[in-house]
């Protein structure tokens, strides 16, 4: 009974979340498609046509996986951070706190909502990329696995940000000052082999590098880091952030007086 009730509650949160971002699709689904379309035109076609191949792939083909995973990262994060913070801000989080839902169910529901948006945007950006190039996916299973794990990780990060946020400004600080630099420096537009050795070593401390390269391995079969290392690092971060989220929800930090 307990599991069944929680599964129903989980479905409710997921449906609510999907309906939420679907209702405002012009704000949530279309902008990443437009932005990534511009990246494909400017970096892929105009500038990329002047550059040499990387790992035997044209520059356009090389950046497609990076741009798709970048959209997944940004959208899974921003879905959870904005939805959960707005739930807090408008006090409808009280609906959840008063009800007998387990904290794990709340967490799973919001993270699934973030993953859903991340993957939908990922598919849309992939479709946009087909206007510029034809990519044969090297391993569909690895591509999907890395996409789901990455979206899960950034949804969890978004939830932590939302829990601590006290204003709408607070939910844009992390994406602007942490997420964007890490993503841009995570090998979306280049292979770290192109960097001097010192910066190559520094780049290895950037967790986003492993997500970008894991995803690139799935799509193209080439990577700067080993796939196993990438998967282990992402799962390690998921376990760590997931535990932090559950602890914060249990203590009521940022959501209860």
């Amino acid at each position: 009974m307990y599991l069944k009730d929680n599964f129903t509650a989980y479905k409710t949160i997921v449906i609510k979340e999907i309906l939420r971002f679907s209702r405002i699709w012009i704000q949530t689904i279309i902008p990443p498609a437009v932005t990534m379309g511009l990246y494909f035109v400017i970096f892929g076609q105009l500038i990329g046509s002047q550059l040499n191949d990387i790992d035997n792939y044209s520059y356009m083909d090389y950046i497609v996986p990076g741009l798709i995973i970048m959209s997944i990262i940004t959208n899974s994060y921003s879905n959870v951070v904005s939805s959960f913070y707005s739930t807090k801000f408008h006090h409808h989080i009280e609906e959840l706190l008063i009800s007998p839902i387990a904290n794990f169910t709340i967490l799973a529901g919001y993270v699934s909502g973030g993953v859903a948006r991340g993957l939908i945007v990922g598919v849309v950006v992939t479709l946009v990329s087909l206007f510029f190039t034809r990519i044969e996916i090297h391993s569909f299973a690895v591509t999907l696995l890395i996409a789901v794990l990455t979206a899960t990780l950034f949804s969890l990060a978004g939830l932590i940000n939302a829990i601590f946020a006290k204003s709408f400004d607070d939910i844009s600080i992390v994406p602007t000052f942490v997420l964007t630099p890490l993503t841009y420096l995570g090998g979306v537009f280049y292979s770290i082999e192109m960097l001097p050795e010192f910066w190559q070593n520094i780049s290895l401390f950037n967790p986003v590098l492993y997500m970008v390269n894991g995803f690139r391995m799935g799509m193209l079969g080439v990577s700067d880091a080993s796939l196993l290392t990438a998967i282990m690092i992402i799962i390690g971060f998921i376990l760590m952030l997931g535990s932090i989220c559950l602890w914060l929800l249990h203590k009521g930090i940022g959501i209860k007086k």
Binding site: Y2, K4, T87, L97, I98, P100
Partner: protein, 321 residues
């Protein structure tokens, strides 16, 4: 078994403010209970802790025999809450708000839609079911929150000032709805600033002030403490001076309005006999203030007086030493 039992509940906020100083309260199943108190007395803190919105400092909250801290899932299942502030998603259609709420309690969507229809019809919101909640009027929003709180058929319904800002007609409709709900066995706990509301609806009452329960008894017992009432008489003819009404102290508000104090057990007939003798004709009569309001004010004033005396005695003792 009590519907709600609160044992030695304490709450000190992070700024050091002690909102609850060891509150004990027992509310029986099927009761219609009023929790009254001035602003900042601790009412909302009690409700917030009982609804898991505020963390307690110490003490216990037991809902239908389940300790809220030890068995939150079982305890929360019995509780429905109508908060003071609107706390639903204003960008969702109202039917969806209800269906989601049911889902949080493990009720499948098909069943949730059926229940939503029942409550939306009962609370006269059915025609608005596809409307975004932000488009509803204040009264409709209050009714929506009542419908939402009932979706999982709770045994206890807590209403925190449910009729605040609602016009008198809707208020009375809501009273009738709540009375009917109480008759079906739902325990109702009400906080309100409309003391007339508490007097009309509630069987038992507790008054809280400065984090302590200062009165916990039946409504009848409380009202029996009333020593005198003040009546306002509208007169047919004008009076220039205050008439001598023997044992009834009187004062003139204006030429045609007379205020008379009457002891609780005194007969009104005697007063009217005196008025008739003085050829004063009365057109209509009303209580100056709500009876409960007077008692409430007296009790809170008395409590403040006792505390002030306590603190000043303390100061005197320090000086004596």
């Amino acid at each position: 078994m009590n519907a709600l039992e609160i044992k030695n509940l304490r709450k000190t906020y992070s700024n050091g403010f002690e909102a609850l100083k060891g509150v004990n309260l027992q509310i029986k199943q099927g009761d219609f209970f009023a929790l009254l108190g001035p602003n900042g007395a601790g009412k909302s803190t009690i409700i917030g802790i009982s609804c898991s919105l505020i963390n307690k400092t110490s003490g216990n909250v037991i809902i239908h025999g389940h300790d809220l801290h030890k068995k939150p899932r079982q305890a929360k299942q019995h509780l429905g809450v109508v908060p003071q502030e609107f706390n639903f998603n204003v960008f969702e259609p109202i039917e969806e708000i209800l269906v989601n709420q049911a889902g949080y309690y493990g009720i499948e969507r098909q069943e949730a839609f059926k229940r939503a229809e029942i409550y939306l019809k009962q609370l006269e919101l059915w025609d608005k079911r596809r409307e975004m909640a932000r488009n509803l009027s204040g009264g409709m929003k209050r009714r929506l929150m009542i419908a939402r709180a009932l979706m999982h058929h709770p045994k206890i319904l807590i209403l925190d000032e449910p009729t605040a800002g609602v016009d008198i007609e809707i208020r009375r409709t809501m009273w009738a709805f709540l009375q009917k709900l109480n008759q079906t066995g739902t325990t109702i706990i009400l906080t309100t600033h409309y003391l007339e509301e508490a007097e009309q609806l509630c069987k038992n009452i507790a008054i809280i002030d400065q984090g302590n329960i200062i009165k916990d008894c039946t409504m009848n017992n409380l009202l029996s403490e009333l020593e005198h009432e003040c009546l306002v008489l509208n007169l047919k003819t004008s009076l220039k001076t205050v008439p001598q009404l023997e044992a009834y102290p009187a004062s003139l508000i204006d030429e045609k309005t007379l205020e008379v104090q009457i002891k609780k057990n005194d007969s009104l007939n005697t007063l009217f006999q005196i008025l008739t003798k003085l050829e004063i004709e009365v057109l209509s009569m009303r209580n100056k203030s709500n009876r409960l309001e007077q008692l409430f004010l007296d009790l809170v004033k008395k409590e403040h007086h006792v505390q002030q005396q306590g603190s000043s005695t303390g100061i005197v003792n320090v000086f004596k030493r």
